[in-house]
Symmetry: C2
DNA sequence: CTTCGCTGTATACAATCGTATACCTTATAA
DNA sequence: TTATAAGGTATACGATTGTATACAGCGAAG
């Protein structure tokens, strides 16, 4: 809802909001009718055609809007978590220098990020529900757009991990690959988080564990076993 | 298609096959009409009601059928991979005894399993497409059923890892948690595998990498760093 | 042999659908 | 000032929908 404030034209915004609502709370984007959508938006059915050629175009518009308003906040969130553990401007200490310190810091940032992430999910469930749903939905156009979006998230994450020194040195390809896997896991778990409120702690822990496993595993494979051995000694 | 041979009643089977077809190739399970389904099955619209109360019931029937015919093959597949590396009956060698040997064996089983898995996906794409799609689809009933199904897969996997000695000793909860994460990753990647034939090698490698990372990461966290260090020395 | 329950069909109908056509308002550009 | 374009509405129509009711074949049970 509150996501779609950038859209200038009244009717267009109403339609996009109604669509996000319907898609999240009732059926898939391709499962409700044009008239049903118009009804929920309080508009004449034909108004749809003033702004969109078909449902794919509507879906893409929603994705674009949501992307703009979700991607940066997610980055900020990660920086925020990092800075709460390592205040900005503090002198960098390499993994080689102090494995244990970096390991612990990494865990803390991880924990904080996951918590903030799920809080973010909770405050904007509709965007996540529709996004994850249509990622494997029936429209090839939307699937492609959403896969690209997730790659974007993964790219951001890789960059942040690099810049914030959250992992010992990985080659760029591996780092991106790990980030992609983490993205997939997080978005998947966000659905469980939304739908099973009574298991939220569990889901949160699951997310933390997966990220730790993925990152530490990749560190091992990249040849940093001894480093981790030192960290855990 | 070939999955639904257990269903005794002709019309019921035709409807389930048609539904799987439509859901995989056109729209979501809730997006096509009862009449469209009947048309594709070559039946009268009303025949639907002879077998199902609504679409959820149809979906559950499909899930049950597919489960029966997919779960055991997946297990066999893993055993097959394991035995191709470590012939059945050969004397067990513990991870403590020979970390390097077990590590290499584990990688090989992993590789073989992933290849077999994707071959399996390729030969039965419809079941996977519909399964993954409806896992995050709009029907709570189907979502729940599919989440349970995935837990079943994860449970099988954990058991096999344990029995086949594919990982150093983990506490049961962690093992299950890792297995669940692997399941999620594999099912997600199966969609990429189906939809992006030109990237299949890449997807395959991604799957292998994620499994290695998850398992080795969990081994590290479980306190087996030194073991891995030995294996990689 | 009859009865009954199961599977499938035929017909029918009101509701809803997508969309074509025409019209109204309002802001902007000429 | 008057055109023009954009955003939104009103009406209309044929196609499709879900489903109610009634009926037909057929195998099993009585």
């Amino acid at each position: 809802m509150s996501y779609l404030k950038n859209v200038q034209v009244e009717g267009k915004r109403l339609l996009m909001e109604a669509a996000l609502n319907l898609a999240a709370n009732t059926r898939s984007l391709d499962a409700f009718s044009l008239r049903e959508l118009a009804r929920n938006a309080g508009l004449n059915p034909n108004t749809f055609y003033r702004h969109f050629k078909d449902f794919d175009e509507l879906g893409l518009a929603i994705i674009d809007e949501v992307t703009d308003q979700i991607r940066q906040p997610l980055r900020d969130l990660r920086r925020e978590a990092a800075e709460s553990v390592v205040p900005a401007g503090s002198p960098p200490i390499s993994w080689q220098e102090n494995p244990r310190l970096n390991f612990v810091r990494s865990l803390q940032v991880n924990n904080a990020t996951v918590e903030l992430f799920f809080a973010f999910v909770e405050s904007n469930p509709e965007a996540f529900i529709v996004g994850v749903r249509e990622l494997h939905g029936s429209s090839p156009v939307l699937r492609k757009a959403l896969r690209k979006l997730m790659q974007g998230f993964a790219h951001d994450m890789a960059e942040d991990i690099e810049v914030l020194g959250l992992l010992p040195k990985l080659d760029p390809a591996s780092l991106l690959s790990v980030s992609e896997a983490i993205s997939r896991e997080m978005f998947h778990l966000s659905m469980n988080y939304i739908e099973e409120p009574e298991r939220r702690d569990e889901v949160c822990q699951q997310a933390v564990a997966s990220i730790v496993n993925l990152t530490m595993g990749s560190a091992v494979i990249a040849g940093h076993v001894e480093l981790l051995a030192d960290a855990l000694r």
